[in-house]
Symmetry: C2
Amino acid sequence: MRTPERVVTAGADLLADALAAQAVEVTRVDWRPPMPGTEDDLVAVAADPRRRDANARALAAVLDVTAHLVDVAPASELLGLQRGEFLHAGPPIAWERASGPLRGALLGGAALEGLVDDPDDAVALFEDGRSVSLEPCHHRGAVGPMAGVVTPSMWMFVLEDPATGRRTHCTLNEGLGKVLRYGAYSPDVLARLRWLGGVLGPLLQRAVRTVRDTAGPVDVTGILTQMLQMGDEAHNRNRAGTLMLLRDLSPAMVGSGYDADDVAEALRFVGGNDHFFLNLAMPACKLALDAARGTEGSTMVVAMARNGTDFGIQVAGTGDEWFTGPAQVADGLYLGDYGPDDANPDIGDSAITETAGLGGFAMATAPAIVRFVGGTVPDALATTQRMHEITLGDNPRWSVPVLDFRGVPTGIDVTKVCRTGILPQINTGMAGRVAGVGQVGAGLVTPPAEIFPQALTRLAQLARQER
Amino acid sequence: MRTPERVVTAGADLLADALAAQAVEVTRVDWRPPMPGTEDDLVAVAADPRRRDANARALAAVLDVTAHLVDVAPASELLGLQRGEFLHAGPPIAWERASGPLRGALLGGAALEGLVDDPDDAVALFEDGRSVSLEPCHHRGAVGPMAGVVTPSMWMFVLEDPATGRRTHCTLNEGLGKVLRYGAYSPDVLARLRWLGGVLGPLLQRAVRTVRDTAGPVDVTGILTQMLQMGDEAHNRNRAGTLMLLRDLSPAMVGSGYDADDVAEALRFVGGNDHFFLNLAMPACKLALDAARGTEGSTMVVAMARNGTDFGIQVAGTGDEWFTGPAQVADGLYLGDYGPDDANPDIGDSAITETAGLGGFAMATAPAIVRFVGGTVPDALATTQRMHEITLGDNPRWSVPVLDFRGVPTGIDVTKVCRTGILPQINTGMAGRVAGVGQVGAGLVTPPAEIFPQALTRLAQLARQER
């Protein structure tokens, strides 16, 4: 370099300018009025002597967790899921209020389990309700993308925190387009699900167990670290993560006793599905956040989840209570001829990634994602910066090179959201609102604002009881 | 998003500020005095009526090329390389002036070919010179990283431009550390080379041919497009590229007739070597740049290459002439206890990546690389911006998301370098200066300034002859 000092300075100015611009942004944001009607509750929660320490412990607990991939097996075995039991994404909901994509996925799931031959015949089963039951994934140690329907025969990844033995679970990703989790349930969707259970699941089980017992389990948290240096934000870009998973498992998939054609097909399927790793990123985030559940006095969000009708959050200091409001429709880019009228409101447990500092919170590290979810590159950079305003800290394990390796914003603080009015930014796939359609696009969305004051009110009640 | 208009504006300001800062930089740069003594030649070349059109054609020719991976085979077969013939990186050089790492690689190559049993015994062969010959890779349609030594038994990738059938070649990457291309030649280095030739090469050959004849050949240019969205700059970060190559080839590696243990070992070796794809990126860049060779009147650089002693460039308008000066020592980060005194001057054909707009020219898209080659994130951003000042255009195929998807700076213009004094920025591995040591670090380096006025003088002579 001819005159490195000058160049370095120019570069530093560039960053300094950006940071200065950001600082101005920060200041303006801090001056915003709190959300209407939250003043008294904010005062009550601020006066809670447990709060500061509880939030520090909650954040530390989340940051301490590492997620290892230790097994792959059917949901019946892992979760004790019985015939007629259906898990779904988001907070609790009954068939009557379920949206199109959730209904479509339930119908397909019923056919997959042999409860009916024709998925449409299952409508009667769900309307009757005596032989079937619905329960959130989150209540059974699991997370599900989009509709998030889990049935007993579906194979799931098992993630474990080696320090505590705690586990979380998620199904195998089906790919994009016409897939069950987007509400499609045509014969080809069911055929793919049967291949996932009959071929890919058992293959992955042997590979995951072999790797676990020889080299040591795949470190999902570590792969997430690398992904953030490779343009993935681990919600709607999981391309590098998927490739690293393949790298780690493929040598164990070619050993003797495997059918070569099945292995080749499995490698092609996973390698051709850039979203495959999402179903590992999600339970890794839940595993981390679950470590903070039940931290009394903490105002940190431990789950954001949507069932296609309601958007719900759970908070560390309020036990298993859900605070819910109407799910919003995302603003983004549409596939083919689809448009805003075709999109269902926000759906899926995948906002667990944002809850843990990834996805929308990490968009600065994945600027190419604006070609998938919309927005501009400066938006993507600004979004990550803005999310630092409503979070408790940075995650040093998951750093963003272009922001000078600053850790992702982690631990959404209900009080900061209420005080600034800044809502968590989620990027998401969009399901068609009619059952059976599948994916129609991808975009950007926020939770309904009112759920944060709701949670704050409950935190304030608990704080007042402590006095 | 609560107030998207404001956020977008803040973001746009952020980028606008950055671009404004860059524009100031640009202006200042343009006002620099030209390199001393180049004024008359700059006038002569500027007056050459062929120049503008020749440069446009040269750049268009480079941007038109796509590189497909069509075969893997031994150098003896592909290049007709005979026993005793050795290719090496950089411009032509004799044993007497060869640096430590080039000598080390030649000694190891002689042992690999069975010319001697003990590599050290080959010193006499090279000093004598009657039974051996040295020739640049570039003279035989090949490129070689670091020492770049190619011997007849080494297996090479074959890249082809489907529009013209032109081909380029490069050996299989050995990994980092103690490897032949960094000048190491211990028994384990030779054992690895024998495994590359005996196991990996034939396995890749069958996989590459199967993929070529079924799905169609691996599109190396297309993988490079993706890599630039995944934190690779394709010189010292090739992690995503390596994983995409594995993704594309692995299904064809598990078919019947393959030894499962060999396949598993091959998958582990490639997956464990983040630099494996470099040996595809380099010949892809040469394939593109060779399209501009011999464009009379063009001032575009078509090759930058170093042999560890000399740094040489070739220019589109000056045929196969090399313009050379002393190779510089890189400034960077060292492995273990190594320091600047251990480093050999710049070596390798890998600066072909910078010549094509990748590597140091694309560092803005790979900010994590500063942890490998040194410097800061703002440096990385500023470097790509600065390289736009000495290049003829942008490559729309290879775009940088964080710079709002601007294409990488492509086509180094000798006149722009001389007029501004801005030298091409190269990032590079550093070999130990003593034969046998191997890699000692990685860093940043530029060509010796004087080779650009040298090339300019020749261009001016040719321009004056045209009048």
